[in-house]
Amino acid sequence: MTTATRAHVPATPTAVWLVVEGLWAWYRRNWRSSAVSSVIEPVLFLLALGLGFGSQIQPSAATGGLPYVQYLAPALVVASALQTAAFESTYPVLAAFKWKGTFLGVASTPITSTQLALGQLLWIFLRLSVSSVAFLVIAALLGAVTSLGVIGSLFAALLAAMAFAAPVVAYSATLQSEGQQFSAIFRFIVVPMTVFAGTFFPVDQLPAWVRPIVWLTPLWHGTELSRASAFGTGEFFPVLGHLAFLVALVVIGGHFVVRNFARRLEV
């Protein structure tokens, strides 16, 4: 690249923001369906399982002595953020490369593939922030929130969701077409993770051999952080460990997103 063309390259923050703006321009017309899946569905889960199913459960040591709905809410925000993240990191990314071709369009402008990759990740982060805040506000109105520690839950949810999104975006960027890979991710990773990683019941109720698998999921670390913050039960070293694991996933995943975008878009 010569200095003459480099002069036209926007500064990275500007370029990243332009990418986000581009994604927003499309989303503005199509937000309806994601509102259903990322806000209404988790609220329904909270109502049905927290209040309906929860009415059958006596507060006990397993629920930290809390009513079930309050036990569930800080974990459900993490689980639903992860689910939304999984969706946002798969079909839309492949579509932008292949079916809609929007990423190819961006690549023909002065915006670099790295800036595009960062813009895509920032966009997912902003999408998740809005739906997670919306869910928590509704949960608070339903009486499922115990303390201001829920703000920590929000950050736990976003961190865990990005820790999952980054590697998945990196993977989606390598696909040439959607065979069965995405269905396999949802069926064999997202669904079991949601069911088993401590959202609905404590992990120590699972057989011992399953637990090490659970420890590998970002959802479990996010849930532990979220409950620790919401209930004020956090201890220094476990919290540090969960944070380190999730940050590491974000950094490593992010590195591969940047690399894979470059491989696909730069000739």
């Binding site: 569905e41 329904l44 064999f188 088993f196």
Partner: protein
């Protein structure tokens, strides 16, 4: 279209073939099932994975939730374990989900993008062949999943009555009704965005139709609303058959699905005819 539609007339012998409008049905829906079979040979992972989803829920909810909740009151007023309570409901829900997703997402893709049925209708097959063929394939898949799930339930000792042998045919009927209705809805859809309406119907139904807890949790008015949902009746049927507390109300529940299936097939084939032959 008249020339292609009149071709099968020479072989119209059965009553159904004679009473239906010309070109709707050629008695060759088998060909579409065969096509699905051939296509799905390459998508075996998707087919197999459909079996695991309810299993994950069964293990997760049954054992995890089960320990939180202990025993519950079953259909006959008898105390049963929570996992025995939830399992039949999950079977009903997976019959619903499998049938509806197949009849909506997959069908929409074939209808709008793959243009599969436009191609099919240039052959002697009619819209009713399409409707019957696609539903039959969905049912074959559903029956496979149902068999797998019931086998696991049997292995876990959750099938306590001989009535359970009827659980599989009942699951197929339920899937048929949901599939037919889902197909009818798909013919009205304009874009992928309409699928959030499908989600909006399925998710609340899955969560609130006494899948996870008894109906007595709700106040009276809500109880009535829940009893209108088709999944509620499906779960009642499955719970009754799996635990053996069968009474006359079963006929009522099954009639619900018979009506739903007929309405679904009639609307779906008419609409398909309109969309494809117009």
């Amino acid at each position: 279209m008249t020339t292609t539609a009149s071709a099968p007339n020479t072989t119209r012998t059965g009553l159904l073939l004679r009473v239906l409008p010309v070109g709707m049905y050629a008695g060759r829906s088998r060909a579409l099932v065969e096509r699905s079979l051939l296509v799905n040979r390459r998508a075996w992972l998707q087919v197999v994975s459909g079996f695991f989803e309810p299993l994950f829920f069964l293990f997760g909810l049954g054992f995890g939730f089960g320990k939180l909740i202990g025993d519950v009151v079953g259909p006959g007023g008898e105390t049963i374990s929570y996992v025995a309570y939830v399992a039949p409901a999950l079977l009903a829900a997976s019959a619903m989900n499998g049938a509806v997703y197949d009849a909506t997402f997959n069908l929409f893709f074939k209808l709008k993008y793959a243009k599969l049925y436009d191609a099919v209708l240039t052959t002697p097959l009619g819209p009713l062949d399409v409707a019957i063929g696609e539903i039959t394939w969905a049912l074959i898949r559903g029956a496979l999943y149902g068999t797998g799930f019931l086998t696991v339930m049997l292995g876990m000792g959750l099938l306590t009555s001989p009535w359970a042998v009827l659980a599989l045919p009942a699951a197929v009927l339920i899937a048929f009704a949901f599939g037919a209705l889902g197909m009818a809805c798909t013919t009205f859809m304009r874009s992928w965005h309409d699928f959030d309406l499908v989600q909006l119907a399925l998710v609340p139904m899955f969560l609130f139709s006494t899948t996870f807890y008894p109906i007595t949790v709700y106040p009276e008015g809500v109880q009535f609303a829940v009893k209108c949902f088709p999944l509620y009746h499906a779960i009642e049927v499955m719970r009754a058959l799996c635990t053996g507390f069968v009474d006359f109300s079963l006929v009522g529940h099954l009639a619900y699905f018979a009506v739903m299936a007929v309405v679904g097939v009639v609307v779906a084939s008419r609409r398909l005819g309109k969309l494809l032959l117009a």
